[in-house]
Symmetry: C2
Subunit: 276 residues, 2 copies
């Protein structure tokens, strides 16, 4: 089963467009976690156990693991999800981008070493930098289009060939010749509902990964209105910090569950067909 | 001492603009290396011992280590260079790019965990994605401008604001407001001498990392003519595969030395002031 099919099933099974970002910052761990041998894994496991029936995906951000030399705990986290909740897709957020021979190594990292269902990539190097990832036809490849950060406009809004912002050009390529196997998706930040609507108009029903609700301040009503498909789906709406650190005490997992449920329900209130 | 100063000293001390890319592909290791406990580290160590007096930098490509879960051997490689040949700068080729809070984690990875002197980054997310790296003022931050791969043109040559290719816009930003501390550098592929000359005309004496000679086919005479500064320097010319795999037998280190020396001398013949 391909990534998009797996995602479609998770959307329906859990009636949720919420993706929980697993960005474990050990300086923010509660005491009960700090005292364990593998705090990052134990923190993630508690979050996953508390939220697995409320999400459409998990998205570990590899930078948080790399900064702490904790690749092993990332492997354990993914193996735990796959073993315990195999229907929940896993998106490795790595934003890789390199020349073909090196991109092949990064594809090996994401899809073989970590066995992720999808990975995020950066389009700046062009199509041949995406091909080694796209060749894994049962996996998803999610390219940056319009990112959630304040500086997104610096390059992504530059006007190309007259009056088209660069990010729209990326969306057009992703909706066409860059997507021979139907497994290319895009990232569009929740902080830019106008641009999200534009991308939706270009890419049809392509699922979009939408970071930026929660700590980054994206508005749920606006983003769902702008980004949903006619079926009321098509979005992977990521929240990381607002869920992971909903409480800084030992009740963090229960607090994370409440915040995930709250976000799911808020999103569903704005979907045109939330029973989907 | 900042990265550019360290680089300037290495250029002069070894009379070399050659950077050896440490991209260890274990499927290409000679037998004598295959049999060791830490084959990636042992391979790198042999290459480094054979070439340290002929280079201006080493550039490990992190993807090769990540694909094999060999981050520990990358740490050992960098520690070996720092301990044994401390005057040779180390560029971690990682092409990272993410929102500010995540970029901070990647900066921690590159500059604290690996203690690299410089790291490559991707500019697609804009200035705020570079700031956490640039804040390490004694380190180098090397942003992609015009990459060496065939697909480089897909986005990087798109015409912005009328008739300026995107990569020139990146060069102008890097030469100006994106570079508050003077530690931002650029990547321009050896395979594009015309674009390299254009970037040189924009950035003054900024050092440029130039991959793409050797296996990728960049022509040395053209790139040196196009990219050198008036002092006959300003280039970090990387070769990986042509040096690492100059021989597939147990004499690989001696063959790597010969190829490094040959490339250094070929480059120096075309420099306007090779005694520099």
């Amino acid at each position: 089963m391909g990534f998009v099919d797996k995602l479609n099933r998770a959307w329906k099974a859990n009636r949720s467009l919420v993706c929980v970002g697993l960005d474990p910052d050990s300086s923010r761990f509660p005491r009960v976690i700090e005292q364990t041998d593998e705090p990052i894994f134990e923190f993630n496991k508690a979050i996953i156990d508390a939220t697995h029936d409320l999400v459409c995906a998990y998205k570990p951000q590899i930078a948080y693991y790399a900064a702490e030399a904790a690749e092993g705990q990332l492997e354990s986290t993914i193996a735990y999800i796959k073993g315990t909740y195999p229907d929940v897709p896993i998106i490795l957020d790595a934003k890789r981008g390199d020349i073909g021979s090196t991109a092949q190594m990064y594809a090996t990292e994401a899809f073989e070493r970590y066995a992720a269902d999808a990975v995020t990539v950066n389009p700046y190097l062009g199509f041949d930098s995406l091909e080694p990832f796209l060749a894994y036809k049962d996996r998803g490849v999610i390219a940056l289009c319009r990112t959630s950060n304040p500086g997104a406009a610096d390059l992504q809004d530059m006007k190309v060939d007259g009056d088209t912002p660069l990010y729209e050009k990326v969306a057009k390529l992703a909706a066409g010749k860059w997507n021979p196997h139907g497994n290319l998706l895009l990232v569009v930040g929740a902080t830019w509902p106008e641009q999200l609507a534009k991308v939706r108009s270009i890419v049809g029903d392509m699922p979009l990964l939408v970071p930026g609700v929660g700590a980054q301040g994206g508005d749920v009503a606006s983003l769902v209105k702008a980004g949903q498909t006619t079926a009321g789906t098509g979005l992977i709406i990521n929240s990381s910090r607002a869920i992971l650190y909903a409480s800084s005490s030992d009740d963090f997992a229960a607090a994370a569950r409440r915040e995930t449920e709250r976000l799911r329900d808020e999103i569903n209130r704005h979907r045109s067909a939330s029973g989907n």
